[in-house]
């Protein structure tokens, strides 16, 4: 009978994984608490501002795509609870905003537009919101820093 001597015994290398479950659940809890669905995924370069107020959750979103996007200067609307949908005319924005205001007269609206969008398009959106008797508008921006 062969006797395994001490120096011949092989210890299998192992990574200690007992705390992995704790870390994973901590991460899940973090994401669950901070989770917010992005209702409009239009990629754009927002203008930079020093003043940035937190926009309310569930606010309606109107986005204007960048001039170099494909298709350019597309306007999309979202109630804040559903994914955004494209609209083709200013009248459709008025109809959308009026419906939202009829449901909730204090409904907030977020205007999300690229830095390089001609102001004419933003003006048309603001005009549609004013016609719809919207009271609160937020112009989405990125944080301005000393570098930019």
């Amino acid at each position: 009978m062969a006797i395994i001597r001490g120096r011949d015994r092989k210890d299998a290398a192992a990574i200690f994984t007992a705390s992995m479950a704790d870390i994973v659940f901590l991460l899940i809890v973090f994401f669950v608490l901070t989770y917010k669905v992005e209702v409009d995924r239009t990629r754009m370069d927002l203008p930079d501002t020093w003043i940035r107020i937190k926009v309310p959750e569930k606010a309606a979103v109107i986005s204007i795509s960048p001039p170099d996007a494909n298709p350019p200067l597309t306007i999309r609307v979202s109630t804040g609870e559903e994914m955004s949908l494209p609209v083709s005319t200013d009248e459709e924005i008025v109809t959308f905003a009026s419906t939202e205001v009829a449901r909730n007269p204090n409904k907030e609206f977020i205007v999300k537009a690229d830095d390089m969008v001609p102001y004419e398009r933003v003006d048309a959106v603001l005009d549609a919101l004013k016609q719809s008797k919207v009271k609160f508008i937020y112009l989405l921006s990125d944080q301005r820093t000393v570098e930019n």
């Binding site: 917010k36 020093w50 003043i51 940035r52 107020i53 001609p118 005009d127 508008i137 937020y138 921006s141």
Partner: protein, 149 residues
Amino acid sequence: MRIKKKDIQSEIFTGSMADISFLLIIFFMITSAFSTSRGLDFALPEDTDTPEIKQEDSIDVHVLRGGAIEVDGEGRPLEGILPYIAEKLKDNPDKPVILRTDPDASYGDMIRVFDELRQAPDKIDMEIKTISIPTRREIENLWSMLGIQ
């Protein structure tokens, strides 16, 4: 002879827990949104309490194509707007500011000026009580009311 009872240990199978947990983490990481939830706010006046603002009673800030700025008809740099407004507000602290933007100017140019006006309490220690952003249609309506073509 007594039959020895076997103790059956109940266990929850946790072998796939790690897979499910990582899938959840990846889902939340991809679909979460953090940074794009702040911006400049402004409240629109209600019809009932809309004061009529006359151009001569207000400070006119005009953003031109290319980002140039005119304040009461005179070209000024971005940093020169608030010192000029501070002088005007000393005479009349309620003086409203009208922010007009050329249709061909970029949205970013307008936002930079609006951001500058909103920083008045920090930069000139005075508050601009009313910042009006009229739309093109409102300006045209006003002009037609005044008989200006």
